[in-house]
Symmetry: C2
Subunit: 194 residues, 2 copies
Amino acid sequence: MKQVPPQKAEIILQTALEQFAENGFHSSPISQLASRAGVGVGSIYRYFKDKDELIHAVFKQVDEELQQTITHNFDSTLSDQQQHIQLVVNLIHYLKERPHEFKFLEQYYSSPYGSEEKHAKFLHAEVKEPPNPFANLFASISQKNQQKLPLPLYLAMTFGPVIFLLRDALSGYVELDDALIEQTAAASWRALET
Amino acid sequence: MKQVPPQKAEIILQTALEQFAENGFHSSPISQLASRAGVGVGSIYRYFKDKDELIHAVFKQVDEELQQTITHNFDSTLSDQQQHIQLVVNLIHYLKERPHEFKFLEQYYSSPYGSEEKHAKFLHAEVKEPPNPFANLFASISQKNQQKLPLPLYLAMTFGPVIFLLRDALSGYVELDDALIEQTAAASWRALET
DNA sequence: CTTTCCGGAATGAACGTTCCGTCAGTTATA
DNA sequence: TATAACTGACGGAACGTTCATTCCGGAAAG
């Protein structure tokens, strides 16, 4: 009996993530990916039907870990402001340490792959479902505002700046230090107050 | 002598923009592009050295028109707040009407093409140059803040939400009406105040 | 007639996918 | 325990397709 049969699939997924992030989907021939992973071309097709399925599998893995991380570091006992700032700061820290994941997601979403997909499924559907810390935070913020805060605006002011900043940091235009991260979190909170 | 020699080049550029925006770079064979433009394959290579040059040419055209539009609708006699809100509102309106341009830019920047490029050249270099309304606005805002406003933060809070919102609008997740646009502009201004 | 422009068939390379021989590990046989 | 038969993971050569690019014959312009 093999206790670790799907280890190779993990290696392929991890390598694919790096390869795609660095070179893009089209400049990542399966052959190159295979040699980088130390694996035969044929083996990749043992675990994934075709290249598209591989790409979606990488996305699924990255997406799930991201969601988990976000929903994990959530202390619902804090004030709205503290929760929001914690969310933004943690998110930036997390993605800053994972440039491959970030680049992959960017590419995935702005390609036909992500467009045809649920896209912001997480950001929209997830936030609305009541029994999760996200929904509570949004509901709470929204309620205290004078004019009702639309969900799209909340998402745009929360995640828009984060993405923009990470992009610039990755391009080397910005030194994304802790001070800047905290300023960003504070600023995006300010934007939500009425 | 031809009085309208580059007319065909214009048609190719325009068609390429649409084709790329709708199908992505790799799912846009030159042959398909040619027939869509009502042009022979060979003709495309008369005006553009290869596919890469075509892609960059499309970018250049889109980028230049965008920059021009932004710097044009700028009334430097208004207050900082009014200028900022005008900027954001105009930008959203402009891009909302041009989904092809928006999708193309997104794709370009998150692909190896844009990455190897100047990227936020416009957003960074341009803003800093003194003799333009942008630089003045940023300088003015920055100066009035208690703690100095870093340029990256200003850019992130100004353009980040815009991009995020447009993305969602294009995906059909958000009805981007005038009320939402104005709320966004107001919110991003709030974020900049100290 | 000469020159410039144009279209699209032809070419060659790159790539995704398939297919098959090899081999390590496992099970059956004696 | 030793040996033979089996099984399925594995690599990579080979295949067929797709596509960027070239090239040439003809049309239009002068």
